[in-house]
């Protein structure tokens, strides 16, 4: 896994080290050039001062390195770092030689025979030399190359030492700064790791850097969406468990009374009750399943189904139930109409509505299914001749597990909420109206035509 902190620290320190190394190289070269030109300038100045002296006044008896000759130049001491100066007249006779000439083998700097700056080797090492001619005098100034290197090293060290010492400090500062800036991320991660799975509170965004904030805000938004889903599913499970209680109780009691009953007829009646109870609970579990499936299904609806085919299928499916209740089911649909969704979904919509209509129809009543198309929408109506609903109940019956007062049928209270859920997903709407012509209910579904 990539670590932001480790990556930043490593690369920044590497960059600092690289730049430092480059500085050493450049600094050395610079020190060399600076020192060279400085010393050259000094040698030239010394030569100029020496040339300005009057050596003719010097007495033969005076030593060659009389101290008063070059009073303003610090070359008349016997130090190894001194410049070596020698002056010869036109005849090659030495008229002046600094004390430092004794470092040269032979005690005197030999005449180089060249003019200007050049490098000579006298057996004990290389020397930088400057030779000039002035007023018939040959002036030569020399400095040991070892000396020059020593000075160069000193200069280079003076420039580079503070920098070299500061590099670890810089690395330390970089590390601390990075750590401090990454700390809010670590804190967020730790907070996220510690929270229990049931917690959906927002992660704090106040102290986060601007670059990380959108990420955490997006996580928070995702968490809220997950929370909504979890709450809804939890509610669904609670509702479902609750809804199962009544049919389960009935089933339990039906089993409990099974071995009672005096005659065969009574025993058969009790067994039949048990079967009805089982059917009720199976139907409920099927409806719960289709509702749960539908709730979890998401995304665009790409399929389409022929409404007329769906109506025919449903009226055939419920033919037995209609015959049992002596209810007539009529389908009025002239032309094929295509609506979104697959046949299973359309079947759930129409099946639930037709089942309701048959269930609440009086004996000998009629259920009619009517369709029409207007304004790009298909309208499906399911008419029954039942008792209808109180106006306050028309919307409430779409609530999950809700059953209208006085409803003694074995409905689960899930049919209409399933229909509502599917119809919404298909981009339509569903509602109930009481009939105006006679008692009864009209369930109306509108769906877009595709």
């Amino acid at each position: 896994m990539k670590s932001l902190r480790r990556g930043l620290t490593t690369w920044l320190c590497a960059a600092v080290a690289g730049v430092g190394a480059l500085c050493v190289v450049v600094g050395n070269w610079q020190a060399h050039r600076e020192t060279q030109s400085q010393l050259d300038y000094q040698m030239e100045q010394v030569a100029r001062i020496v040339a300005a002296q009057d050596f003719s006044a010097r007495k033969q008896s005076e030593p060659l390195d009389g101290p008063d000759i070059l009073p303003r130049v610090n070359i008349n001491h016997d130090n190894e770092d001194d410049l070596i100066v020698i002056v010869r007249d036109a005849g090659g006779q030495v008229v002046y030689a600094s004390k430092s000439n004794r470092h040269i083998p032979g005690g005197l700097l030999p005449a180089s025979g060249e003019l200007g700056f050049h490098i000579k080797d006298f057996g004990t090492g290389q020397y930088r030399m400057f030779s000039a001619q002035s007023n018939g005098l040959n002036i030569e100034v020399a400095l040991s190359m070892d000396m020059i290197s020593e000075v160069e090293s000193g200069v280079a060290l003076a420039t580079l030492l503070p920098m070299v010492l500061l590099l670890p400090v810089l690395a330390l500062v970089i590390g601390v700064v990075i750590r401090r800036h990454v700390a809010p991320l670590d804190a967020s991660a730790a907070a996220l790791a510690q929270r229990p799975p049931s917690s959906f509170e927002d992660l704090p965004v106040e102290n986060l850097p601007a670059e990380v904030r959108p990420l955490v805000e997006e996580i928070n938004r995702l968490m809220r969406r997950v929370e909504t889903t979890v709450v809804r599913e939890k509610q669904f499970v609670t509702d479902a468990a609750h809804a199962l209680r009544t049919p389960l109780t009935a089933l339990q009691l039906q089993v409990d009374v099974l071995d009672g009953g005096r005659d065969e007829q009574e025993k058969a009646a009790r067994l039949a009750e048990l079967r009805t109870g089982l059917r009720r609970i199976i139907r409920l579990s099927e409806q719960l399943l289709s509702l749960a499936r539908n709730e979890s299904a998401a995304g665009p609806i790409e399929e389409k189904t022929d409404l007329r085919q769906g109506l025919d299928d449903v009226s055939q499916l419920y033919a037995d139930a209609a015959r049992a209740g002596n209810v007539r089911v009529q389908v009025e649909c002239d032309a094929p109409v295509f609506v979104p969704g697959n046949p299973r979904r359309l079947g759930l919509i129409l099946g639930n509505l037709v089942e309701n209509a048959i269930r609440y129809s009086p004996v000998g009543g009629a259920v009619s299914l009517r369709t029409s198309v207007a304004g790009g929408r298909a309208r499906i109506e399911v008419w029954d001749e039942g008792v209808g609903l109180a106006p306050t109940e028309l919307e409430r019956v779409f609530e999950r597990f809700y059953r209208a007062p006085g409803d003694t049928s074995n409905g689960s209270g899930l049919g209409l909420s399933t229909v509502d859920s599917i119809v919404r997903q298909l981009g339509g709407s569903v509602w109930l109206e009481n009939r105006a012509d006679t008692s009864g209910l009209i369930a109306i579904v509108t769906l877009p035509v595709v």
Partner: protein, 222 residues
């Protein structure tokens, strides 16, 4: 033993009626709260006990119960409900329920709780009703005379129980009929006499005494 059942679910209601009738209860069943309250408050039908569902159309069970208690009705009430939260149980019991049973439950438990409520109502230590040499056991639905089991029909059992639970009191024909028959039953004019005759034959002629012009009471059995 006449019992009022107030329950809106058809399947639960039917099974409860069957199961309780098997046990000798005379069950009247109403399917909504308003009818339930009317039945509890009806002075013509003195129910020994009531089974009340909480979720009812028109008037919920708790409202029915509170209204009956406010009117001074002390009938033992067993509440049945799908609500199992502590707050629900507390408000049910505080609202006047004598016991509370959460769905789903088994018939055996409901019957045991009914017996317990009846025992408490009569101040008895055990479910058995004892009078002289006769022992009546509502749990096993058996009658014993001098420790010997005697086979009785459920109607005979109910009549004997009604008399034995009130030793010394005289029950009129109407009172006995109310204990023995629910709303739907057609009572034949000589049915009571027939049952009494049968009981006397099985347990001895002195078991039921006739108080002329008033009714019957439990007699001395040696």
């Amino acid at each position: 033993m006449r019992l009022l059942l107030i329950e809106d679910d058809r399947m639960i209601g039917e099974s409860l009626v069957r199961g309780l009738r098997d046990d000798g209860y005379v069950v009247d069943w109403v399917k909504d709260g308003a009818a339930g309250l009317a039945a509890i408050q009806d002075p013509a039908t003195p129910y020994a006990i009531a089974v009340l569902d909480w979720n009812l159309p028109r008037k919920d069970g708790l409202t029915v119960l509170k209204a009956a208690r406010r009117a001074g009705n002390t009938i033992p009430v067993l509440m049945i409900t799908a609500r199992d939260e502590l707050a629900d149980r507390v408000s049910g019991l505080d609202g006047g329920a004598d016991d509370y049973l959460v769905k789903p439950f088994e018939l055996a438990e409901l019957k045991a709780r009914l017996r317990s409520l009846l025992r408490r109502r009569d101040g008895r230590a055990s479910s058995e009703v004892i009078h002289g040499a006769i022992v009546l056991d509502p749990v096993t639905h058996t009658v014993k005379l001098h420790d010997t089991p005697v086979a009785v029909t459920s109607r005979e059992f109910a009549l004997l129980r009604a008399l034995m639970e009130r030793p010394g009191s005289v029950l009129s024909r109407t009172q006995i009929e109310e204990h023995l028959y629910g709303w739907e039953t057609e009572v034949q004019s000589n049915a009571i006499e027939f049952t009494i005759h049968s009981l006397r034959r099985k347990l001895g002629s002195g078991v039921i005494e006739n108080v002329r012009g008033v009714g019957w009471r439990i007699g001395l059995v040696s």
